[in-house]
């Protein structure tokens, strides 16, 4: 177990709280800022160790920002450090979203407000479609990907199979496909 003190735990909380609060639409846009804080400002670890954690964080499933917080926190100060960092990285998203949700319920849905919300929802639904498009441009580049995408779409829309099961099946399919392809290469 690495040595830690309250100052280190507080630093971890603050670093990831800042990153969580000022990141919009998720992702690792704040990575350079976290890196600067962790490596230069608070000197919790060297750059190489930090970059290894940041890379690992993206290969594990789950909220990438939380994965990153867990790795850096645990690397710098064991389990207490992991908790301080992960709470820092999630607390502001939780509190702000909770407030936003409660406020939204208080808005009276009548007259022009109701009209505004009907159109906001139509535009918002359009942004979900647009997200599917831009993700598709990045991720659908082979016949295999097209088949998996359409199968997932059909399974969720027309059967009772749940989304996590579809994702699990897709992961296994990807694994099996890669193994099959690599074996073919070796034999040739």
């Amino acid at each position: 177990m690495k040595k830690y003190n309250l100052k280190t735990l507080w630093a971890l909380f603050v670093i990831f709280f800042k990153a969580g609060t000022f990141t919009f639409a998720g992702g690792l846009a704040m990575l350079p800022v976290i890196e600067k804080d962790v490596v230069e400002k608070y000197k919790l670890m060297d750059r190489e160790e930090f970059m290894e954690y940041a890379t690992l964080a993206q290969t594990l499933p789950g909220v990438i920002a939380a994965n990153c917080a867990c790795f850096v926190g645990r690397g710098a100060a064991g389990t207490p450090g992991m908790l301080a960092a992960v709470i820092g990285s999630t607390i502001s998203a939780f509190v702000l979203m909770l407030l936003a949700t409660i406020l939204l319920q208080l808005i009276p849905m009548e007259g022009p407000v109701s009209g505004a919300f009907q159109c906001i929802r139509a535009a918002s639904a359009a942004m979900v479609l647009s997200a599917a498009f831009s993700l598709g441009q990045h991720n659908i580049k082979s016949l295999f990907a097209v088949i998996v995408m359409l199968s997932a779409l059909a399974l969720v829309l027309f059967t009772d199979i749940s989304a996590p099961v579809v994702i699990l099946l897709a992961g296994i399919t990807g694994y099996a496909y890669k193994r099959f392809k690599n074996r073919g290469k070796k034999e040739a």
Binding site: G62, M82, L96, L104, M127, I167
Partner: protein, 191 residues
Amino acid sequence: MILECLKLFYTFFKIGILGFGGGYTMLSMIMTESTEQFSITAQQLADLNALDMIVPGPIAINAATYVGYLHAGFWGSLAATIGVTLPSLILVALVMRFITRYRENRVMESFLFGIKPAAVGLIASAAITIALGVLLKPGASLNTLFSDPFGTISVFLAVVFFLAAFLNIRFKVNPILLTVIAGIVGAIWVR
């Protein structure tokens, strides 16, 4: 109440542990699961997506908080948020304990090779479900979609939908700007 919180925790834990590739994989599962398991409406999911644009933080945390609160109040939102975050703590602890140099990247990559296109399919299905739900005329039902499309779907909202999608996909117009404009247009024109 406790049972509903446990159900939220369990579902969001599953989503977290299968969330390879990050936010959008999880959001795709959250949108599909919350309509089926937690009776969240298409309107509420559209609101969620709009809030996601303006509230900071990881989108999976935002979505868990929102769905949890609507389904079971404050404790529900806490249960869902802890559920989606806990896999990170467990997996990171396991990886750091047992694998000094993470050598399973190949396996992860091949999983992602299947999961990434599947997540696109799930997001597309969420887009279809949400769009059909929010474009519906008041009191109309989706059962009459093919027999009486103009009596079922609001043409005005459909125009807003396709215009917003077109402007964002083709010309990269800022999503927040588009949503605000849509709100103003709606307040003036829709009665």
